[in-house]
């Protein structure tokens, strides 16, 4: 083989490696995304039978924002609340599995992932039984007066947030576990040796060093939770519907493609803005390489 071809190959190699993934993304993500973008600018008076004309109707955006901002805001509110709850549950869990579980580690990991083996829908339906008005949980909460005698959990924001927390918890725990598991225990010893108490060691060493996992987990949790509609649909009431429910209905029930597409794009933009803002703050400097 002559040096020239070797050199050309080496120059092309990285592009060749990127090509399959890029082609896949191109065909199954970029093209549909552009189609969706075009659909969001269709003439809103069009219909399935008459067809839709691309009239660059940017007015679709303010229109859906005005009509559905409560659902949009709710999506972010619920996802944030669920994230907070998931962090409270998930960080200690990931920490315990990674650093304290010993030989139970693998079993516990399987337990974390196990719910993922069943369908999302079935899991959420199971929560309906757990949160049932006549179930043991509501009974217990009524007995201890955390709920009034006619209080309930189903069809309340609490149920939706609990459902979101439960369904997406593994997505938070797994990357967190991975980064906590990698954490060098000698660094913790060093911190103790340098006058850091347990709490200080956690704040100054464990927490910052688990940031990569924490950031990955937070994003993996937050993004799908914001776009979710199954939990609101099954565990909530109309007053808990999230933007996903609206998009679902726009595409499947109302057949209002411009609205559905515009709303999808708004959601995407809003999530992107939150993610970028988050990475700006939490990312760059805190995530060490």
């Amino acid at each position: 083989m002559s040096p020239v071809t070797t050199s050309a190959r080496r120059r092309l190699l990285p592009y060749l490696l990127v090509l399959p993934g890029a082609a896949w993304l191109g065909v199954f993500f970029v093209v549909p995304l552009l189609q969706l973008g075009a659909a969001s600018l269709y003439d809103p008076t069009g219909s399935l039978s008459t067809g839709y004309a691309l009239t660059w109707a940017f007015g679709n955006y303010p229109a859906v924002l005005q009509a559905y901002w409560p659902q949009l805001a709710r999506s972010f509110g619920y996802a944030a609340a669920a994230l907070a709850l998931a962090l409270l549950l998930g960080y200690p869990l990931a920490y315990a599995i990674a650093r304290k579980a010993g030989r139970w580690k693998n079993l516990l990991l399987v337990c974390v992932v196990a719910p993922m083996f069943t369908s999302f829908l079935v899991r959420t339906l199971a929560w309906k039984t757990i949160l049932s008005d006549h179930g043991w949980l509501v009974g217990l909460l009524r007995d201890v007066h955390l709920l009034g005698p006619n209080g309930r959990l189903l069809a309340t924001p609490v149920a939706v947030v609990l459902g979101l927390t439960y369904n997406f918890l593994p997505l938070l725990v797994l990357p967190l576990y991975a980064s906590l598991e990698r954490l060098d225990h000698r660094l913790l010893e060093a911190a103790g040796d340098l006058y850091a108490s347990g709490v200080q060691t956690f704040r100054r060493v464990t927490l910052p060093l688990s940031m990569p996992g924490l950031i990955a987990g937070t994003l993996l949790f937050f993004i799908p939770a914001t776009g979710d509609y199954i939990n609101a649909e099954l565990l909530g009431s109309p007053n808990e519907y999230m933007v996903g429910n609206v998009i679902d209905s726009a595409f499947l029930v109302r057949l209002d493609y411009p609205q559905g597409a515009a709303l999808s794009f708004l959601l995407m933009a809003a999530i992107l803005a939150v993610v970028v803002g988050y990475l700006r703050r939490a990312g760059t400097d805190e995530v060490w390489r």
């Binding site: 660094l187 060093a190 911190a191 040796d193 006058y195 108490s197 060493v205 060490w288 390489r289």
Partner: protein
């Protein structure tokens, strides 16, 4: 440098640590005088690191005490002890820059203005201007010095160093040894240095404790221990020794006569750790000289016959292996100073020594000769 006020020697009293059935540290009793450079020397697995970790508070003793002056610190948490450690892996915080790594301990103790102390400490370890780098951007030697600065800045009463130079290459190691010694002299803090490198221990320490299988075999100034080792282990671990299995039958006047392999020798009684029964007659290789014939052996020296089986020139010296009449092997180092004669392989020689340079050590009955051979590292005694 600010001096820590109420002084104190570091004292380990009957310190024992067991891991299950294994006794890692076995009833260790020793005192490290304040301000000294103390080395714990031993092969890996001898319990020296465990001892150090008990002083740091990272390991809890099974029994015994750790005292600092009059204060019992045995049960204190690591962060409550006026003791800092330079870890073997350095354990620098990868998410903090050099200055913040150094300032870590100060900040944890609530000290707000740290810049000046950090700057001075970085200058002490010759890392001026590196304060904004991350540990990953530093070389091994630089990381080592950050680890040192990070511990020293806290002015601990005792600084523990756990094989701090182990990861460095030879040249760097030599340089850092001198550097550490300089810094210790400058700050005057008690240094407890754990190492398996006898040369390192001898270069730096005022006092060396040689550890083997959880026990301290000999404690003393490095030159004293070298010149007159207390046990066969020390004789072979701290430098090399030719040890001939011999029998002694008590003192005769100021001397102790011994028999080895049918030949008779003697040495002054003050060079004997044991003067009866099974003993080792020991001579350091550099104290063993070669002569072509009996008339070349100086008066008063004792000698035995042998044949050169190997001669390797390592520059400063030539290292010979001599096969004795009974099939044993002795090592002899001759300085390449241009004075002595060289012997080729196969030459018949007389190996001789001054009895005042020999020593007598207790021997397990039945144990055979131990040659200084061409080994570099002694075999670890326990795992």
């Amino acid at each position: 440098m600010r001096q820590e006020s109420p002084a104190g020697d570091l004292r380990l009293a009957n310190l024992t640590k067991r891991f299950g059935a294994l006794t890692a540290v076995d009833d260790v009793d020793l005192t490290v005088p304040q301000g000294s450079f103390f080395a714990l020397l031993g092969p890996s697995g001898c319990g020296k690191t465990t001892t150090l970790r008990m002083v740091a508070g990272l390991e809890e003793p099974t029994s015994g005490q750790v005292l600092l002056g009059d204060r019992d610190i045995t049960r204190l948490r690591p962060y409550q002890r006026p003791v800092n450690t330079v870890f073997q892996s350095y354990a620098l915080f990868p998410h903090l820059d050099v200055a913040e790594n150094v300032a870590f301990g100060l900040r944890r103790r609530g000290i707000r203005t740290v810049d000046e102390q950090v700057r001075r400490m970085l200058s002490l370890v010759r890392l001026d201007g590196h304060d904004r780098r991350r540990p990953a951007q530093l070389s091994g030697g630089q990381q080592q010095r950050v680890a040192l600065a990070r511990a020293l800045v806290n002015h601990p009463q005792v600084l523990l160093l756990d094989e701090p130079l182990g990861a460095l290459d030879l040249t760097l190691r030599r340089r850092m040894q001198l550097e550490l010694k300089r810094i210790q002299t400058e700050v005057g803090i008690t240094f407890v240095h754990v190492t398996h490198d006898q040369e390192e221990a001898m270069t730096m320490a005022d006092t060396v404790a040689v550890m083997n299988a959880g026990r301290i075999e000999q404690l003393g100034a490095p030159a004293d221990s070298y010149e007159f080792p207390a046990t066969a282990f020390v004789a072979t671990f701290l430098g090399r020794s030719n040890l001939l299995a011999a029998e002694a039958a008590g003192r005769v006047g100021a001397d102790v006569p011994v028999t080895a392999h049918g030949a008779r020798f003697s040495l002054p009684a003050d060079r004997a750790r044991s003067d009866r029964g099974a003993v080792y007659l020991g001579v350091r290789p550099e104290k063993l000289h070669l002569a072509g014939s009996a008339d070349q052996v100086p008066h008063g020296h004792q000698h035995l016959d042998g044949v050169v089986t190997d001669a390797s020139n390592v520059g400063v010296s030539t290292q010979y292996l001599i096969r004795t009449g009974w099939g044993g092997e002795l090592a002899a180092f001759a300085a390449n100073n241009g004075l002595g004669r060289r012997f080729p392989v196969g030459a018949s020689v007389l190996a001789h020594w001054d009895p005042r340079h020999a020593f007598l050590l207790p021997r397990e009955p039945g144990a055979a000769d131990r040659s200084a051979g061409l080994r570099d590292e002694p075999t670890p005694v326990s795992s």
